[in-house]
Symmetry: D3
Subunit: 318 residues, 6 copies
């Protein structure tokens, strides 16, 4: 029997609470999903704590096979879903420890974690876990915001600051960081400049549309190469028409078709982790945001499966 269970075995509406009804444990797992329902660091709308369960529920309509990549992302990788980190709503630092530990434990087993946020502050925990094991990592960051603001309401740790903190803590290699899709109103011109000043590559939505993603992709390949790479995806990269259920929407974004095409071209990197953040189910009455998020996670796992498959072919050839 293949995992996830076929609907012939159990209808899709019989959820077990895990992503696509994945088991919590399997041998030789290469991909591990983990819920990170922390949302205290959000500045405006809140409620991403309910995203892991909503995305898992939405995942029930997905099928095991990815036709574009020709892989079974969750079977080729023996994927597992270890449930949610028991974060502490009012305590970001203790929550960071718990999340870092959960993600790190997966990494130590050679499993690529896929974190399901939560607000964008959670990525700092994963980057800490990654940097400890791989040194400063490369980062591909889809978002409408750079999230390199210093403080907000006087607080240093919030969902708009993870990537300035990551820089300060030396978790990323700035020249190998690409922030893609930045758009919307700003506090002042420095908002984006500050990110560039850190050494990050900032690709605004306008530039992305103008240049085409393939140009950016080549730049990333050149800059990043085989460096261990973390991919973080803020759902507000996508246009509100496709992803209304999020906290700090920016109109004028990319469609889900454009978005999936970009993600599907990212097969060449050496991923050590992923996350998907900022889904807010209470603003998603038709559940299209959660479904998009689940689909993107299916694609993330496929990126790992493609690599696993390629390596396995290489091994067979050798």
């Amino acid at each position: 029997m293949k995992y996830p269970l076929s609907p012939d075995v159990k209808p899709e509406f019989c959820t077990t609470g895990s992503f696509m009804r994945l088991p919590a444990e399997r041998e030789n797992a290469k991909v591990g999903l983990v819920g990170m329902p922390f949302d205290t660091a959000a500045s405006f709308r809140v409620g991403a704590r309910f995203a892991p369960q909503a995305i898992r529920q939405a995942s029930m309509t997905l099928f095991p096979y990815h036709p574009v990549h020709d892989v079974y992302p969750f079977d080729d990788t023996n994927a597992i879903d270890i449930g949610d980190v028991p974060v502490i709503p009012h305590n970001i630092h203790r929550s960071y420890e718990l999340m870092e530990e959960a993600v790190g434990t997966l990494m130590d087993r050679g499993i690529v974690p896929i974190g399901i946020g939560g607000d964008h502050s959670i990525t700092l925990a994963s980057l800490r876990a990654a940097a400890k094991r791989y040194g400063p990592v490369a980062m591909i960051h889809f978002d409408s915001h750079t999230d390199t603001w210093d403080t907000y309401y006087g607080e240093k740790y919030w969902h708009g600051s993870p990537f300035i903190r990551a820089y300060e803590e030396g978790l990323v290699d700035p020249k190998k960081v690409f922030q893609i899709g930045i758009r919307g109103t700003l506090n002042h011109p420095g908002d984006v400049q500050e990110s560039k000043d850190l050494g990050y590559h900032v690709v605004t939505a306008g530039e992305l549309e103008h240049q085409g993603f393939s140009v950016i992709l080549e730049q990333m390949k050149t800059a990043i190469g085989d460096t261990p790479c973390f991919l973080t995806f803020d759902i507000d990269f996508v246009d509100p028409s496709c992803a209304p259920g999020t906290g700090t929407l920016e109109v004028g974004g990319f469609s889900s078709r454009e978005t999936l095409k970009m993600i599907r071209s990212l097969t060449e990197f050496n991923y050590v982790g992923f996350d998907l953040v900022e889904v807010l189910p209470s603003y998603d009455p038709t559940q299209i945001t959660s479904l998009l998020a689940a689909t993107i996670i299916h694609d993330f796992a496929s990126l790992v499966a493609v690599k696993t498959k390629r390596e396995s072919l290489d091994t067979m050839i050798e």
Copy 2:
């Protein structure tokens, strides 16, 4: 450690997909939850297939202790949640077999099943399982409809006929059947009369309000005594203001406070099964219907726990 997990161990929004995060298996279980997401038999609005997961999700805000009965309903009974029966949407007879088997397996272990529907047609499966083991059972039935219509659209098996089928199949002892809360417009005067003609006790909403539940309760005690008893609760017994998320609403019903009071007085019966049916999450935007359903299930388990506790006290005394 006590089950269900305390929020100090894991926040409530970290669901595992089971009711109150109950385990799927425990020794000496006395109560067993089972999802029965069959809704093909509904005549108007559909979607009760999503009720088990919605009610389980809503259960996350409940706490382990029931202060009115002074019991821990899920711990005193070592309750388990065995997940959903893999019903077959388009096939009521095969679904009945699967549901009967699931419920019967629990019964054979001495576990009182609590079925989470699904539309009201599912109760027939549970009654079949019960009658096979205990003979014709008594039945306490909260509903705004008698569900003893013969056919609908020419079909014999639908969510308005389980209790005429149960009669025909000899699953219930008609003199020990109480249908409580009947109200709303009818096809013709015979609608209710037909139920009485079967020998059932029909208590309309008007009679219930006029006589008071304590009078009905005494009649039930006298009629039912120690007979193995099934309690089936259609959420449309409750007024639409408290339970908008259902399929065939009848305005003018009872409040959730009145409803809980009635249920909490039903401690004297010898329960062999429960179910709660007809919650439709897609018509429940604020989730108050699912929360009410989860609370009623908490009360059902408490009715078992009260008996368990009493018997255990009796044993200690002897």
Copy 3:
């Protein structure tokens, strides 16, 4: 075959667009439904123009027989649904003419009209039609507001003034007007006093709760007797929990159970017309307000059917 069609003939979700699938014409009709989708006169929330279609849609779950009154309200009366008056959104006076004509045409045929609003301004049209044919009428008025304010925003014709206009035009006999359920904040003490000064009986929600409806009922019987009587029901009489879909809600109202009981006791009057107003479907996501409205209309028709039946019995006896 009985009208409305039984679900055995056609499922309830196969609507024809009329109330309970009533025909537009029948011989010997005694009750006639008519949509009056005028809502320009609303002062706050708007959208009652969509109420007639929403209430007709909700009516599909009702059955032909009324068990409390033992009548078939739409068959015993050969009820018809003549569709909507083509009101003119921006022109209250021309709309009044069209509505008065539609209602009057029914009255001329001996048919009791049941108007489906629309905002409360529409009642003036019906009262004009009634008064022309029967002289000043008695009026039973359920509402949380007296709707006897003079002007609003400087306008004399709006949904808060129909009953001061009706007084001025001599359409009602003030001593035979009962306004029941008045509650909520006011502009000043005079708001209610002005209504009393017209000679109207004002029964506040507090008084109604304190005295009980049976006391009010007796007063109405004494005052009104056989005078031709119009019953107008503003859905905001009912508590927002039972009727959220309306424009100027007042919390602290009566439940739908309490409300139906009051209406069902009103069998003694000589009705020449009814209406039900102020349902706003865009604020009624679960459709419970429309369903309550449809049920109340079922009860209105029953009040006529009871009388028809009684007269027919009288005739048979004679």
Copy 4:
């Protein structure tokens, strides 16, 4: 006076329950709308039984003239709306008979039926009616799924199998079947291959985007020519941002602008029937899905009107 009634005669919110207030009967009708509210065959979300009434309601904002085709689709064709087939929710085979009969009766009068689903299983009924009269038909099929799965939950007749059943029954000419827009995750690679093995032309979303619709159009013209042709449109062809109200959404679809352009280019075929399926009003809070569906139906009728007009010009010339 032209049908549908102009808003100068009756405001758009005064619905009669039919599509654009069309009459149920007219002489020389060339187009006939028919509701087919069967949804028991759905595998996940349910509720398409309410689609016919929701789409008819949404149609009220459409106007009689189609500026791209320069036709009055419902007047040039004397279109009628015959209401809903009284399908039987729990009985797909009896429902198929009723639907086939309704559609066939229209065909026998030379009327092109436009079926308003219901789930996609309904198309089998229409194809049966068509094949009986015209032999195996050509089919243009917009969808994100091929709907050629064999069984689901062990059932052969469900909304994912109509086109393997149609093949088996010889209702379509496989070389003249085009399935356009296929995308999303799959059970395994065979899912799409199986459809190709039947001889169907499968055009994935990726291929469609890459080649452009004009290329596909030419292929269809060549393959289909004048063969009697059925056009079936599953609303999930369109992206969830434009059509959230459906049952098995696939993100990454086409926009409504792209979709309408494709449909509007399909003037060259010899249509014997259309349908539009899988709208779920309970997941469509803003009604944009129903409006899109109504607009597509307006376009379907225009495709017939264009042909009628052309033939009438030809006649005039001859």
Copy 5:
């Protein structure tokens, strides 16, 4: 001209952003509204930060006069709305300082503050401000929870602990604290006992229903007398049917009519502050929760106005 502006001056939908369009400053103000949009301390659903603006918006349908008390609550008291405290989402202690300062500044001017939460943690700030000026205060507390749990997720300051913290800090006089309406499932029997052990009077929903509020009222009068008194109202005291938009709902609560009656009987106390907490607009699609909250605030101000009026009469007599 009277404040708030009459709708004859400005329609109700022309909001200025303040409660009932109150000014931010007036001479001789006796009542001051202040938004306290802090919600980080919530344990389950979040989003009360949007409550102040939602409640202010809902207040636009209220009128200036309170007919039960015969006062103009906002004019007789020259009420002001000073806007929101700029709380810091991630920092409860700094937020407490800001809220305490805002409330204290009002108190120093002889103004009775009405805090609009925010989750229930905010009350601690107000109690600190009050105790500093008046010594340990009496407290009337409507809620379904005692909010005297010690820690949650290991945190001492959260929305379930304000009243154990208040006890520890000596902000209240325990013998003069009444917690009214407590109900729902518990962690263990100690949950309520702990509150009693502090010396608080705990009145469960069952006791309240059984004894009647008038009995409780007399107990409160005796115990509290003229002691400076704080009234805190958690909207989840009310049943979910009347107040679905809150975070930790308990079914089986009191209706809005019952609730208003209780509040309106509380004229005898010496209020030094009020607050209303736990409204969550994102779970309140029909806005009935916000409207109930606004109405309760109107009643709070009336309690002050009644006293002001009485004192002014006393002065006149002297």
Copy 6:
């Protein structure tokens, strides 16, 4: 301190009720926002009267700086928000006078008004104010409808006629009027032709897509030059997926990204006024329509700021 307040000073959820917390008055203001909540002239869905407050609320997530234009639109222009015109729902002519006066007063101070509708009828008021001061103006009009129908329901003044009335009153210079984005079904071919017959340039959605906006832009520059110019934006120009919350939606529109690009290219005109109309919050559950509207207003102000900046540079150079 800069206006609007930075979130470091006050969180975004602490609204003051004005757009981006702008003050009601400032010296040297060049831009003035004004709410025009008139919606009586709508023909189908109603409720735009709540748009000004919803758009202002949505504006709270915008930041002060516009990165594409490199301006601070509300600071470089000392923008003010003067609140709502107290329109009179049932009286379009008196409302026109009040709106014209409010807009005119701003114009007399050299302030460019940005009207927040309201339905599209409001634009006539602004054009009257503009024409009185500047003579017949140029007009750039984004919409899916030409709004040059003569009467509707027999009424001359409604939301589909402002631009035929403007023509008749000589408020615009027809050769300098561009109507962009026209699409959807029509009453008859004359609908669009009538607009062209007035001398207006009509650019259908099809033409716009085919030619590209830059071609249209050049035509506008040539035709309009320095003529005082009014820009009116009906939100239904945008596709329903991006703007579901409006009254007369037309599927097949432009995305928000396409839309913003067009607006951002309009820097060359001599604006004397703007408005944005037809947002209906009650059909916008996720608030994406209001957010899009707020963003467009941010862009309108930027168009003024660009000019202000340019002139100020010119002055510095001179």
